[in-house]
Amino acid sequence: MVQLRPRASRAPVSAEAMVDEGQPASEEEAEHGLLVGQPSSGAAAEPLEEDEEGDEESDEAPEELTFASAQAEAREEERRVRETVRRDKTLLKEKRKRREELFIEQKKRKLLPDTILEKLTTASQTNIKKSPGKVKEVNLQKKNEDCEKGNDSKKVKVQKVQSVSQNKSYLAVRLKDQDLRDARQQAAQAFIHNSLYGPGTNRTTVNKFLSLANKRLPVKRAAVQFLNNAWGIQKKQNAKRFKRRWMVRKMKTKK
C-alpha cells in the first residue's frame, strides 16, 4: 500500500506534476532552438512558478509581472541557452580538429621519410620506361601461370625495390612471402624424407646392418653395439627414486 502524501489541495499537486513535465520539455525545446520567445510557454511557466511559491505562502497575492520583463527574461534564457550550445559546438570542433592532427602525425611517423618515397616514385617511373622487357616477362608469366596472380604483383614489387636499393644495403621483403616459402620448403623436405625413409621403405639400423657380417662368421660374434643403454630409462629412474625414498624412511623409523 502506497501511502500518499497528505494533500492540502488538489491544484498544487497537479501544478507540481505539470512543473516536472514542463521543465524538461522547455529545456529540450531550448536546445533545439525552437523556442524563440514563445509567450505561451513563458506564460505557462510563470503561473506554475507562482503556484509553487503560492503553495508555501498560499495567502499572498501572486507577483505582478509585466509582459516586457517576462519577455526580456525569456530572451535572456534563450540567449544563454544559445551561447552554451555554441560553446559546446566549438569545443567539439576543436576536439575533433586536435584528434585529426594527432592521427595525421602518427600516420606520418609510420610511413618512411619523404626522401625515400620520392626516390621510389621517381625510380618506378624510370623503371617502367627503362625495361619494357621485364614487363614483357611479367606478362608472359601471367599468361602461362594459372594461379598466383598475387605472386606476380609481388614479383614486380620486389623487383622495383631491388633496383632502388642499389646504393643502400637493404632489401625490402614481405614477411608473408617468407612464411609461404618456408612452408613450401618444409613440405618438400617432408616429401623426400617420406619417400626415402618413410613407411613402406625397407630400412634397418646401422647396428643391424654392420652386425650382419658377424652373424655369418664361422664363429658367430655379438652385434657391433650389443648393449642398449637406452632401454627402460623410465623404469630405472623410478627404481632409483623409490630406493632413495625407502632409505630415508628406513633411517627415520630406525631413529
Binding site: 601461370e145 616459402r181 626415402l196 625397407n202 650382419l212
Partner: protein, 571 residues
Amino acid sequence: MGEFKVHRVRFFNYVPSAIRCVAYNNQSNRLAVSRTDGTVEIYNLSANYFQEKFFPGHESRATEALCWAEGQRLFSAGLNGEIIEYDLQALNIKYAMDAFGGPIWSMAASPSGSQLLVGCEDGSVKLFQITPDKIQFERNFDRQKSRILSLSWRPSGTHIAAGSIDYISVFDVKSGSTVHKMIVDRQYMGVSKRKCIVWGVAFLSDGTVISVDSAGKVQFWDSATGTLVKSHLIANADVQSIAVANQEDSFVVGTAEGTVFHFQLVPVTSNSGEKQWVRTKPFQHHTHDVRTVAHSPTSLISGGTDTHLVIRPLMEKVEVKNYDAALRKITFPHRRLISCSRKRQLLLFQFAHHLELWRLGSTVATGTVEAMCLLAVSADGNWLAASGTSAGVHVYNVKQLKLHCTVPAYNFPVTAMAVAPNTNNLVIAYSDQQVFEYSIPDKHYTDWSRTVQKHGFHHLWLQRDTPITHISFHPKRPMHILLHDAYMFCIIDKSLPLPNDKTLFYNPFPPTNESDVVQRRTAHAFKISKIYKPLLFMDLLDERTLVAVERPLDDIIAQLPPPIKKKKFGT
C-alpha cells in the same frame, strides 16, 4: 730417430656430410661435388684427384642439383628455390637468383651450354638464358600436375624429358608444350600402393629415354611414339641416379642399396650390326644410398649417403694399366682441420659450425710454428709463404712487407707447406707426392732437394693415394722432416742415403733385430710408420712427444642414417 711418447687422440668427432650431387666437366677434367650441408668441393681429377677448391656451405643453401655450363661456370639449385652461381676465381658465391617456382628439384644445362632448365615443386619447367654476367628468365613450359624431379636434354637440343611422380613427360623445346606423357608402372608387373617416383631420366640422341625409378626398374622408352620398349628390374630398392657417357655407348646407375650398375651397348652377336643394352658390371663400394653418379670418358664416379666419393676407372677405357687404374675412394678431407699449439699444448678442431679447443697433458714445449691451409710462417717471424690458386708459391718478407721471391710454378697444386725453424727452408708437398725444399734466404732449391729430384722418389711413395696434409720439424734436429697423410706418417732424415726402387721401402720390423751391416745397407732416408691410421693429424709437441689424431671409419659409419635392409641367407 729416437723414441717418442705419443698422445693418441680419438675424440675428434668428425662426421663428414653425405654427398648429394656430382657434376663432371669434360673440358677441364674437374669434378664438382656438393654435400647435404651445402658445401661444394671441386676436385681436379688430373692432379691426382686433389680437392683444390672448397665453398663452405649452409643448410639453407642445401643443393638438389648441380651442373656446369659453358665457359666453366658452375650453377646449383636447391630447395630454397634459388639458383646460385659460384665464382671459381674468387671462391665465393656470385649471386643467388630466385626462380619463383617453389623449391627446385632438378636442373640441366643445354648441350650448347647457353641455356639452363629448372624443374620446380609446382610442376613448372622454367627456361633461363645464360648471359655473360647473370642468368635471365626466358619462358615457362607447360605446367605439370606434380613436382618435376629429373630433367634431361636431348643432345640435339630439340626435346626434353622430365621425370615426375608416376609419369614422364617429353616436351618440345621450341613450343614448350608436351609431346608425350608416358605413365610409369608402380611396380614391375604388379600393383603397389606407393607412388612410383622417377628419380632420373636420360635422353639419348636416337630418341630413347632411359628412366630410373623408386620401384627398382630401369626402363627404355621411345620418345617418338611414347611407348615402353624394355624394362629391367635391377634392385629391390630405389634406383636413384643415372649418368650417360658422352659417346652414348654406356651408362651407369646407382641404387639405394649401395650398388652401382654399369650398362653397355653391345652387339647382339659378334658380327651383327644390331646392338642392345646389357647390364654388365655391378660394383658394391657403398653401404648406403648412392644418390648421384657421373660418367667420365674413362671412369665411373659415384657418391652418396655414406660420404665416400668413389672413382672407378674402367679397365677397357684406360690406356696404360698402372696404378692409376685402381679404385679411388676419397673419404677423408684433403685439408687440415686440426691445428696444434705447441707451447700451450692445445688442439683446435675445426667443425662446420663451431670450433673446439682441447688441452693435452702437461709438458713443456718449445717454439711455435703456426701453419694455416695455404700459408706458412717461419719460426722467427721474418718470412711468410703463401700459395693460392695461381701457380707459384710467393714468399714475403714480413719485416719489410714486400715480396721476397717466388718458388717456380709447378703444374700440380700444393697440398702442404712449412718453414723449417733454424735453416728457414721452405718444404712444399704437391698433390703428385713430390716434395721440394727451397731455401728462402738463398732463393733457390737446396742441394738435398736437387739430389732427390734427380734420384726420383720410390715408386711406392708415388703410389700413395692420399695427399700429405701436414709437415713439421724437430726443433733440435734440423735434418729431420716429419710429414703425414691419411694412412702413414714419415720422418725424412736428410743425412741418410735415398732409397732406389729396389730397396725395401717400408721396414716392418724394428731395426734392432738385424745386424749392423744389414742395417747400414738397408737404412734409407724415409722412415715410415703405419701404426696410426686413419690419421687426420700428426705433429711434434716437444722433443719426446708426438700427438696423433685418428678417426676410425667405424665411428663415422655409426653416425650415418639408416641403410636399406639386406636379407642374407642364414640370418
